[in-house]
């Protein structure tokens, strides 16, 4: 899955403006979706603290799974850090592995 994503990104870069423009129009067809910004970039959080449950909570939907990047809009760098932080917090029983 990760490979697929990387390939897509590269393809987009090569395709240039045309392809990107198309991608930008696409969401308008269904319902308007606001452009998502990486929360950590916007708030200038450089270190994702695994002990801060309130920071991590928005990225855990009801089931307790890690929210994918395409939904949350988190950038690749911060998603990677977030992922590690969430897994550490899970070990400490601060956040659940699964919720039924």
């Amino acid at each position: 899955m990760r490979e697929e994503r990387g390939g897509g990104g590269r393809g987009g870069g090569r395709g240039g403006d045309k392809k990107e423009g198309k991608g930008g129009d696409a969401p308008r067809r269904g319902f308007f979706r606001r452009r998502r910004v990486c929360k950590f970039c916007a708030e200038k959080i450089d270190y994702v603290n695994y002990k801060d449950v309130r920071l991590l909570a928005p990225f855990l939907p009801e089931r307790g799974k890690i929210q994918p990047r395409r939904i949350s809009g988190t950038c690749a760098l911060h998603q990677r850090k977030l992922q590690v932080a969430i897994k550490r917090a899970r070990q400490l029983a601060l956040i659940p592995y699964v919720t039924d």
Binding site: F32, E43, D46, K51, P58, R90, Q91, L92, A93, L94
Partner: protein, 151 residues
């Protein structure tokens, strides 16, 4: 030796443990740190917290966070010790110095970048109080999870 690294140690003590037992545990760790020539940076007791899921038959526990500077062998010994103790339900050792250094570098780089840009625009490098809109922070970026779709 230059192998001193900063670690964060979090451990969870059973809710049955008394204050005294928790204090004893802390002194025990302190002694190990001393024996290995490490430095105790700080300790933090979060008190009793409910778990997100049951661990064994426990539903809650006392969280203690310690920040320690020392060698890998020191943490190995602490890790081994905590594994043996019955009162400790769970523990986690994380090396933090590298991550914090990277984070600090990013912060500094951004500051330098913003400063350079501001100087180029003929402004003082630091943001003045009451300047521009907002605080450079974002209002309305917190509601990112799907609420924006309703517009």
């Amino acid at each position: 030796m230059s192998t001193a690294r900063q670690y964060e140690l979090v451990y969870i003590v059973t809710p049955e443990a008394t204050e005294q037992e928790i204090a004893d545990l802390h002194t025990q760790i302190e002694q190990i740190v001393e024996r290995f020539g490490g430095v105790f940076d700080k300790t933090e007791n979060w008190g009793r917290k409910r778990f997100a899921y049951d661990i064994g038959k426990h539903r809650e526990g006392t969280y203690v966070v310690e920040t320690i500077t020392g060698s890998g062998e020191l943490m190995k010994e602490i890790d081994r010790r905590l594994r043996v103790l019955d009162q400790v339900i769970r523990h986690l050792v994380v090396r933090v110095d590298a991550e914090l250094r990277v984070a600090q570098r990013t912060t500094d780089a951004r500051k330098a970048f913003v400063g350079r840009r501001r100087v180029a625009r003929g402004l003082p490098a630091e943001r003045q109080p009451g300047e521009g809109k907002g605080d450079g922070d974002n209002d309305g970026l917190d509601d990112m999870d799907g609420v924006g779709g309703q517009r």
